[in-house]
């Protein structure tokens, strides 16, 4: 076991444990951990106050490779365990790492309630749209028709959109990024960290062995600029090589449409401006999946509550304790009716 001692300034490498990474060569997880190291170094998070908690899966091996505290738990339960850890010690900075199956299949209920309660956790979901560690079965995020060992003739059930689900669960911070975008990913993680409450981040991740290239139609250099829109609060929702494409509300309807500035009378003013506090807009953005729509990347929604769950619990307890004043276990046992036998 390696004993790290905090140095003056922590570099990204200081956040890496001494354990050799065991992901498949070329796995998107390699890029993600790089991005995480960078984000943590940018924030200079103290190693001993940072905890990574994961479920089971390839993604969930993450904690072993971090020089922070880490807990590799059981499949689907990381958000529940992290809730207990955060409630027990709000001082800790708790990051939860889950695969799409971990987070939305077996873990769906805990993810829902961690989000609903608004526990101050960073909930990172590595979405490779497949079960990696169990050798490639389809997952709840797999596209319809996915052929996998458990669906040799193609999957039938429609996938869940992780960000839309998180918003429906009452999420107050919902964001999306891509494994290999090492400029974007650390920034999103830092925003997630800044948000006090449950921060849900979907990270599109390529599984080179069982689902290679599933995101190519979005991430491939040739198409990325047309198929991704980088949303930023207060900035117009534009995309495309030359940034001329944009999103606007179909007149009179609750529907977005893709328009091009300069074409049939569209001007900059027609383009929507991103408001990260608007849940309905966030829902629309999160829902965009198929061309001609781009897939929305960045902080789709960030609308912090007055107080996060664990903070509120500690506040209430503090009030109760104050009200109770001096307590004593012997008094506790003697509250109410008692009598004395001589």
């Amino acid at each position: 076991m390696n004993i790290e001692t905090p140095t003056a300034k922590l570099t990204p490498n200081d956040y890496a444990s001494d354990q050799e990474l065991r992901w498949c060569p070329g796995c998107g997880d390699y890029a993600i951990i790089k991005g995480v190291h960078k984000a943590l170094a940018d924030l200079q998070l103290p190693l001993e106050k940072t905890v990574f908690i994961s479920g089971i899966g390839c993604a969930a091996r993450f904690p072993y490779y971090m020089a922070t505290y880490g807990f590799h738990t059981i499949h689907g339960r990381a958000p529940a365990i992290a809730t207990g850890t955060k409630l027990a010690n709000p001082e800790l900075d708790v990051w939860v790492v889950m695969g799409d199956g971990d987070c939305l299949s077996i873990g769906g209920n805990h993810t829902l309630h961690a989000i609903r309660r608004n526990v101050d956790l960073q909930l990172l979901m590595f979405n490779n749209e497949i079960y990696g560690l169990t050798k490639g079965q389809y997952s709840p995020t797999s596209k319809v028709g996915t052929r996998s060992p458990s669906t040799p003739q193609g999957s039938i059930d429609s996938p869940v959109n992780a960000c839309v689900f998180a918003l429906g669960a009452g999420g107050r911070f919902v964001a999306r990024t891509v494994d290999t975008n090492l400029k974007h990913l650390p920034e999103v993680l830092k925003s997630a960290h800044a948000h006090k409450g449950a921060s849900f981040v979907e990270i599109l991740q390529n599984c080179i062995v069982y689902n290679d290239g599933v995101f190519n139609d979005i991430t491939d250099k040739t198409v990325a600029s047309d198929r991704q829109i980088m949303v930023e609060h207060g900035k117009p929702l534009v995309f495309g090589k030359d940034g001329k494409k944009g999103l606007r509300l179909k007149p009179g309807l609750f529907e977005l449409e893709v328009v091009t500035v300069g074409e049939n009378g569209i001007t900059d003013k027609d383009i929507l401006v991103h408001d990260q506090k608007n849940k309905i807009l966030a829902t629309m953005l999160a829902s965009m999946e198929d061309a001609p729509f781009p897939v929305a990347m960045g902080v789709l929604y960030c609308n912090p509550a007055e107080i996060s769950y664990e903070a509120a619990v500690w506040k209430q307890t503090a009030e109760i304790v104050a009200k109770a004043g001096e307590v004593d276990l012997n008094k506790m046992l003697r509250r109410g009716n008692t009598w004395t036998a001589a």
């Binding site: 505290y69 207990g84 955060k86 409630l87 307590v327 506790m332 003697r334 009598w339 004395t340 036998a341």
Partner: protein, 623 residues
């Protein structure tokens, strides 16, 4: 239990003195029988009698009025001597309606007293209860002392001045009955009146009405007595160890035990739980003890409940989770994680009737198999079981001691009967209880998370937030010497053995098995665990008084078993193991000691009757 009558000087004039009485209050779920019983209990306890109670209610919240399945009952046994059970059969049955009479009359022995509220014996109720004819008028009750009173009418009359509507007025009739019973056994009204005032602070009118009803019931007794139609009794104080006492239920005692235990370990207490009958009461009780370093978390399900507790233990608190059989089943996989990561955790299982949803409000002790064997892989866990309401306090502390000292999940077994039953409890001085402070690892020198204490074999506990001790743990097998994950075959064998040895060693750190009553060898040992303690002990006492060679062994540490138990059992010709299940502890004893223990079973959701146990004993030692 037959009621012994005898003139006695101790009792005030005009009251016939009894040594013990068993009263059963029975009525609609809506009639407030549980409250009535609880109040009578509180008062009786305050008067220094020994008591034992048995609440028995349906699974429905408020089943329709007048139906037999909606009947709720509360039995109390109080005496001037040391009693251990709520009594086999009621001396007095208070039946608030025909359904209550229908369900409970069969339990009242010949000559027993039956007090009925004639006001509820109308056509509709009689028919709902399945009576063709009115049992008060035919010869149904010829063998009993019937006291027929129109409590409804008298109650309404009593509360009339307060101008309540009929419905609210009638609500007070249980308190009227309470008043009459308080008179009949010479108990003060004060505690009940105090409680009524407290309960209805916001509705003074309701409070007054209840008090009026209480007094009316009491007064009715006095006048009736003068007219000679009723007799008053007295039950003298029980002689008990000097000290301060209170009435306590198993649930309260467990809650307090866990709080005291956590404090002795120097840990904050975290309860992650999901409601389930009859375990919810522990969540409710601890939720009111936040000033004592307690956090309670109502999780979305049992899995989240146990996982949040594991997360809290990981962070350095004492993680506790509580449920009943079906809920504990859901926690199985996570308990395996706590075992593999060697974190302290207490799983309180408040057993109820099964399988599946089974009989949620009835008691049973059928989760021993699940507790001892019910996990995948080689996952032995310490299991301790409570035996009386008061014992719940000490067994809970023992569970905390083992969990925190040995870094292991511990299963704490109790049951629905103990959870709700009340008994007088000699309140201990917390300062007299030895503490067992946990020391967290802080020294980075040579640290790895699976370094073990030579003696206990417990791994060192390094809590997140500690500088220099950053490490990772998880459910994958880890290397004995470094704590890193390892798939190496010999290492897995070694780790499996050390995990098992760690738990087995606890046998050296618990008291040797003693004999609860009787001798260390002989013809017959009756071996029990859990809430059958009182009934078995009582039965063995009586059998020995009757000259039978029988002894009572009560096992608190189910796993590991006490070191000397095998030798002890071999000292008897026969071993009988009565359980409120289909035979579970008996399997463990036979496998462990190859002793031919005989199983005795009662799976009725009801506590054992002392007489049934006496018969079973006699059948085995006589001739």
């Amino acid at each position: 239990m037959a009621t012994k009558l005898a003139e006695s000087e101790r009792s005030e004039p005009r009251r016939r003195s009894l040594e013990s009485v068993v009263i059963r209050f029975a009525g609609d779920s809506g009639d407030g029988m549980q409250l009535t019983g609880t109040q009578f209990t509180q008062t009786t306890a305050l008067m220094g009698n020994d008591i034992a109670t048995f609440p028995d209610f349906p699974a429905e919240i408020r089943a329709p009025a007048g139906t037999t399945f909606g009947v709720s009952a509360f039995q109390i046994n109080f005496a001037s001597y040391d009693i251990m059970t709520p009594g086999d059969a009621p001396d007095v049955l208070v039946a608030m309606n025909p359904a209550a009479l229908k369900v409970h009359l069969k339990d009242v022995p010949k000559g027993g007293t039956v007090l009925v509220n004639t006001g509820a014996f109308n056509e509709r109720n009689l028919q709902k209860a399945g009576y063709k004819a009115n049992p008060l008028e035919d010869n149904t009750l010829t063998d009993h002392r019937l006291i027929a009173v129109d409590m409804s009418k008298l109650t309404l009359k009593a509360v009339e001045p307060l101008g309540l509507n009929q419905r609210d007025g009638l609500r007070c009739k249980n308190v009227w009955a309470l008043g009459l019973m308080l008179w009949m056994y010479g108990r003060d009204r004060e505690p009940a009146i105090k409680w009524i005032k407290g309960r209805f602070t916001k509705e003074p009118k309701i409070a007054d009405a209840n008090i009026a009803a209480l007094n009316a019931g009491h007064a009715y007794g006095e006048t009736a007595e003068i007219s000679g139609s009723m007799t008053a009794f007295a039950v003298a104080k029980a002689k008990s160890v000097p000290g301060v006492y209170r009435a306590v239920t198993g649930t309260e005692a467990i809650a307090w035990g866990l709080v005291v235990g956590a404090q002795k370990a120097g840990l904050k207490l975290f309860l992650g739980s999901y409601p389930i009958t009859p375990a919810s009461a522990l969540l409710h009780t601890l939720a009111n003890l936040k000033p004592y370093g307690v956090t309670t978390f109502q999780a979305e399900d049992e899995i989240s409940a146990v996982c949040s507790a594991i997360g809290a233990s990981y962070a350095g608190q004492l993680g506790i989770t509580s449920s009943s059989g079906p809920g504990v089943a859901l926690k199985t996989e996570a308990i395996g994680l706590a075992f593999a990561t060697e974190l302290p955790l207490i799983v309180v299982n408040n057993q109820r009737g099964g399988p599946s949803t089974g009989l949620p409000t009835k008691t049973e002790q059928s989760d021993l198999y699940q507790s001892v064997f019910g996990r995948n892989a080689d996952t032995p866990l310490p299991v301790v079981a409570t035996c009386t309401a008061g014992d719940c306090f000490y067994t809970a502390i023992e569970a905390v001691r083992i969990a925190s000292k040995y870094m292991t999940p511990v299963i704490l077994l109790t049951d629905g009967y103990l959870a709700n039953a009340a008994e007088p409890w000699l309140i201990p001085n917390v300062d007299d209880i030895p503490d067992f402070k946990v020391t967290f690892r802080t020294d980075p020198e040579g640290f790895h998370p699976y370094l073990r204490d030579e003696k206990t074999l417990a791994r060192n506990w390094a809590v997140p937030g500690t500088p220099g001790l950053m490490h990772r743990i998880g459910g994958i097998e880890k290397d004995y010497d470094t704590g890193h994950i390892s798939y190496e075959s010999d290492n897995h064998h070694r780790m499996t053995k050390v995990r098992a040895e760690r738990v087995a060693n606890i046998a050296n750190d618990i008291p040797l098995q003693t004999v609860a009553h009787g001798t260390e060898r002989g013809k017959l040992a009756v071996v029990g665990w859990g809430s059958t303690f009182g009934a078995i002990n009582q039965a063995v006492r009586r059998s020995r008084e009757a000259g039978l060679d029988v002894s009572h062994i009560h096992i608190r540490h189910i796993f590991p078993l006490p070191r000397n138990l095998g030798e002890l059992l071999k000292g008897y010709d026969k071993v009988l193991v009565p359980e409120m299940n289909n035979g579970q502890l008996v399997t463990l004893l036979r496998a462990t000691y190859l002793v031919d223990c005989e199983s005795m079973t009662q799976i009725s959701g009801q506590p054992y009757k002392v007489t049934d146990l006496e018969a079973a004993i006699r059948a085995r030692v006589e001739k």
